[in-house]
């Protein structure tokens, strides 16, 4: 048989399973410092051996699953997943600084009868905490090989590999009758006492940092200050690189204008490709800054503290602090956010979290917000020059998303997704200096996805849009810009009556259609439509100045309000469909978001028109 044999990587949450998995396979699985960072099973072959395949499983405290991600781990080990053959062996990962707790799970796993290898991970931390463990004695008591590892520094890997190759050759024993938690706890503690040569002093830094971050007064101030800092940074730090990218695409267009005669090809390159794709790529710096912050929050262990601080507020709307982590992750992108809701135990809590996650302003909405804000909100400072007005408006938009998410959760939890009051139980892991390598990989992956999307999907959409905006050609006696007579102008004309009550002109209406595929395409579409429409001197300017001339302020504000709720991109809808496994709930989400978007834009447009 040529099938590789499978080895499951199992352990309590936060013991470094994914980091060890990455080191052993050379893959780049996401690593983060909060329980529930891994919600899927991933597999990869052991470096240099195609015969052994490692399965990275979600962390769990026991084989009694309490959430959908933990169920995956149980089902895999019990051989309940149809398509998958049972793993041949288990690589169990334990945190050397919390041995008795983790040994309890080792004992439970051992009763399953699989050949096992134990990775005593985080031994560097154990040394720093002055914990001394007799590895040989542990090996002897458990009857399985024990290897000291430091996953993030790739220590102990060769030995793990060697022991795993031996382990997969051993037969699986029959599973034993599981004993109860209590006696297992006692056995774990006895073993720990026997093998521990010196007790630790605890992780001092964690205790100290927690007295600050979880302080009754300072804690919430730091949390909200941090969130505010992120939005300010996204705006101000990205300014210089964005100007550079803008300048680059501007000079490309100039080059085409100088070197090519006016004609279809020049228009296609300049208006279709460069104006469309360029208007999206310009937002890469902002998206990277946002992702960098979220990756650092996740890998440092702060995210869990934020969940702790927010639990009370979340409980007011019927959720618990756990839900805060998927929601914060959704600021980057709703898709991983919705996936990470698998770590939420209560099914109705999980469903509610999934339904509101798209209201968290994802990074794809940044281009839309940034563009409109840059065009219509003056670049001045408020509150005595300390805070930029543009960043402040951005903050308000994010806040509007958060508040409406909470209100909708509140309504849902009292009507459609009612359940018993949820519990909140969560380990607060030790703080860690963010692993910069993983932050770097995360940012690299994000840039790759973003640029690939700009190069394929967005470019494709722009080509289609350009064709539709150019043909049919205008009649000879045309008085309006050519685009008005094109397909796009015609379709825009159909859509206009639908969107006129909320202040959208036909150009916006047409941009919303490709915007369904990915929100940033709406910006690209505006770039193309306005670029084709404008006179020569306007084309030379950026989209910002074009919009400033073309839209009224109420229209701009209405457009912003639309995108707070905006119907989701197609990939989000697909993920919601998969994760809820319900067409009904998916349709419900799309419908309520669409309804809210229309309603809020309608109100914004009419109130703004009345006031201004």
């Amino acid at each position: 048989m040529n099938h590789p044999v499978k080895v499951a990587v199992v352990g309590n949450p936060n013991c470094g399973k994914s980091a060890l998995f990455n080191s052993l396979t050379g893959l780049r699985q996401k690593v983060a410092n909060y329980p529930g960072a891994t919600v899927e099973r991933r597999s990869g072959s052991l470096l240099g051996m195609s015969t052994v395949e490692l399965l990275d499983l979600p962390g769990t405290y026991s084989l009694t699953p309490r959430s959908p991600d933990e169920e995956i781990t149980r089902a895999t080990l019990m051989g309940e997943l149809e398509a998958e053959d049972l793993p041949r062996a288990i690589l169990c990962v334990v945190d050397a600084t919390n041995l008795s707790q983790h040994l309890r799970f080792v004992l439970e796993l051992k009763d399953l009868g699989f050949p096992m290898v134990l990775a005593l991970n985080m031994t560097d931390l154990a040394v720093r905490e002055k914990i001394n463990i007799d590895r040989l004695k542990l090996e002897q008591i458990l009857g399985i090989p024990v290897v000291e590892t430091v996953a993030v520094r790739k220590k102990g890997l060769d030995e793990i590999r060697e022991k795993l190759l031996e382990a997969v050759k051993l037969p699986k024993l029959d599973a034993k009758e599981p004993e109860d938690v209590r006696s297992r706890q006692n056995r774990a503690r006895d073993i720990k006492n026997e093998v521990t040569l010196s007790e630790g002093i605890g992780h001092k830094a964690t205790r100290v940092l927690d007295t600050v971050f979880l302080n009754m007064f300072v804690g919430p101030l730091i949390l909200f200050g941090l969130l505010f800092l992120i939005f300010q940074a996204v705006f101000s730090w990205a300014e210089a690189p964005m100007d550079m990218i803008d300048g680059f695409f501007g000079s490309l267009q100039d080059m085409i204008a100088e070197n090519m005669s006016d004609g279809l090809l020049a228009s296609f390159l300049s208006d279709g490709l460069i104006a469309g794709v360029g208007s999206v790529i310009i937002f890469l710096p902002q998206i990277l800054i946002l992702f960098a912050f979220i990756l650092v929050l996740e890998s440092s262990g702060y995210m869990v503290r934020a969940a702790f601080l927010m639990d009370r507020i979340m409980s007011r709307v019927g959720l618990n602090g756990r839900a805060f982590i998927p929601l914060i992750s959704s600021f980057a992108c709703a898709i991983p956010g919705i996936m990470s809701a698998r770590a939420i135990a209560d099914p109705s809590d999980r469903l509610t979290t999934i339904l509101i996650a798209p209201l968290m302003t994802c990074s794809a909405r940044l281009p839309v917000y940034t563009l409109i804000i840059a065009a219509f909100i003056p670049n001045t400072t408020i509150f005595g020059g300390t805070i930029g007005l543009q960043g402040f408006v951005m903050f308000i938009l994010y806040l509007a998303g958060i508040l409406s998410a909470l209100i909708i959760a509140f309504v849902l939890k009292r009507s459609l997704t009612k359940s018993t009051p949820p519990t909140f139980m969560m380990e607060l892991p030790k703080y860690q200096v963010p692993n910069w390598r993983y932050v770097g990989i995360g940012l690299y992956e994000r840039s790759r996805i973003f640029l690939r999307r700009a190069g394929t999907m967005i470019m494709g959409a722009m080509v289609i849009l350009w064709v539709l905006s150019t043909f049919p050609a205008p009649p000879a006696d045309a008085t309006e810009p050519a685009i008005v007579y094109s397909m796009v102008g015609i379709i825009g004309g159909w859509l206009e009556p639908i969107f006129a009550p909320i202040g959208f002109n036909w150009e916006i209406s047409i941009a919303l259609l490709p915007g369904m595929a990915a929100r940033e395409i709406a910006v690209a579409a505006l770039g193309t439509v306005y670029s084709l429409q404008g006179s020569e001197d306007v084309v030379a300017g950026s989209l910002v100045s074009m919009l400033n001339g073309a839209w009224s302020l109420p229209t701009a504000l209405s457009f912003l309000a639309w995108f707070i709720f905006a119907p989701q991109c197609l990939s989000t809808i697909a993920v919601v469909r998969r994760e809820t496994n319900s067409r009904k709930w998916t349709a419900f989400m799309v419908a309520y978001l669409f309804g809210l978007a229309y309603l809020s834009s309608f109100l914004t447009y009419h109130i703004a028109s009345a006031i201004l």
């Binding site: 309490r66 309890r104 302080n215 919430p220 702790f308 009370r312 607060l428």
Partner: protein, 86 residues
């Protein structure tokens, strides 16, 4: 002093004042098997516990130190754990 220990009262963990050290005396059995869930999280008879932090909003949930771990719980669930202050 010896008498104090013998007659030591046990109180629910949710009522333990912040900073006061205590030892886990028992975990009450519940319908939803929450006691098992708490054991899996790391609670066990005889372990040292203390309330390290309280939520700024309504002092609930609380962060509890058990050995080298910190675990966040709402008071309602914490009350399943009976402790003896020391």
């Amino acid at each position: 002093m010896a008498d104090d220990i013998k007659t030591a009262v046990t109180i629910p963990l949710g009522q333990l004042p912040r900073g006061q050290k205590a030892i886990v005396a028992a975990l009450l059995e519940t319908d939803e098997n929450l006691d098992t869930a708490l054991r899996e999280l790391g609670f066990a008879e005889g372990l040292d516990v203390s309330v390290l932090h309280e939520s700024p909003f309504g002092r609930d949930p609380i962060a509890i130190g058990i050995g080298p771990m910190t675990v966040a719980l709402r008071r309602k669930e914490a009350n399943i754990v009976m402790v003896t202050p020391v």
